[in-house]
Symmetry: C2
Amino acid sequence: MKRRDFDHLNCSLAQTLSVIGEHWTLLIIRDAFMGLRRFDDFQKDLGIARNVLSERLKRLVNEEVLEKTPGEKGFPEYHLTAKGLALQPILISMTHWGDKHRPNPKGRRLIFLDRKNRKPIQTMTVRAHDDRRLKPKDITVKRGPGHRSSGLDIPLSDLR
Amino acid sequence: MKRRDFDHLNCSLAQTLSVIGEHWTLLIIRDAFMGLRRFDDFQKDLGIARNVLSERLKRLVNEEVLEKTPGEKGFPEYHLTAKGLALQPILISMTHWGDKHRPNPKGRRLIFLDRKNRKPIQTMTVRAHDDRRLKPKDITVKRGPGHRSSGLDIPLSDLR
């Protein structure tokens, strides 16, 4: 797949997609969160072609989402950086949506737990400044100083 | 791009990617959240080829993420369904990550507000059952009843 840089779309979501907006990339990051470290483990787990995996890992290292370190016995290892770890709310939000809208008939596939007490975490929810849970139609949007001025003038209309 | 169904990956995140794991698809959904409804508005805003847009919209309607309705003056309109609205935590998590890790030097591009009082929403955070904020390394994972038994046995190790 040709990489798109989305420079014409001055949008934080598009910028995020330019780093992680590709199937394999997100699944590699998922595997890194699960504790996989080595090229061969990513390859076996995902069934991905070696040249594709190699390219994606290189890109994630360049983007400072993963860090490549010399591991035991000379096998390089890939670890999530702070920038990579900060992707976790995205991955958990996606997993929760998939649990609900593309479920496995046998039940939940993976359950995320608070390590301290092993109780399940909450479903990812948007929160107001005072911690109230917000539903999609409770949220609106305004332009910030970095908003593009060119292109279609998005109405930023409230959802109907 | 060839569509992947990821049936061999029994993973809720992979299942979500099979619906929305593609650059344009997520940006079309973003535009729908911003209030865009018509084919030509999506096309102008994203600068996307008409045949690609047409295919992506059709797929989102088939997946029941968007609903196609007859609009004014005979222009069909695309609206987010409940399943589509449920994607908002994912989109907001991605936008917040892009704000922080791929910022616009002029400042924030878009700011999400609580419609009730127009105060900015919180940054998306994982929460424990008792509402404590959890950091990536506070979270672990266990297998649920729908976990795959085949394939590489992911160690589900704690992050180091």
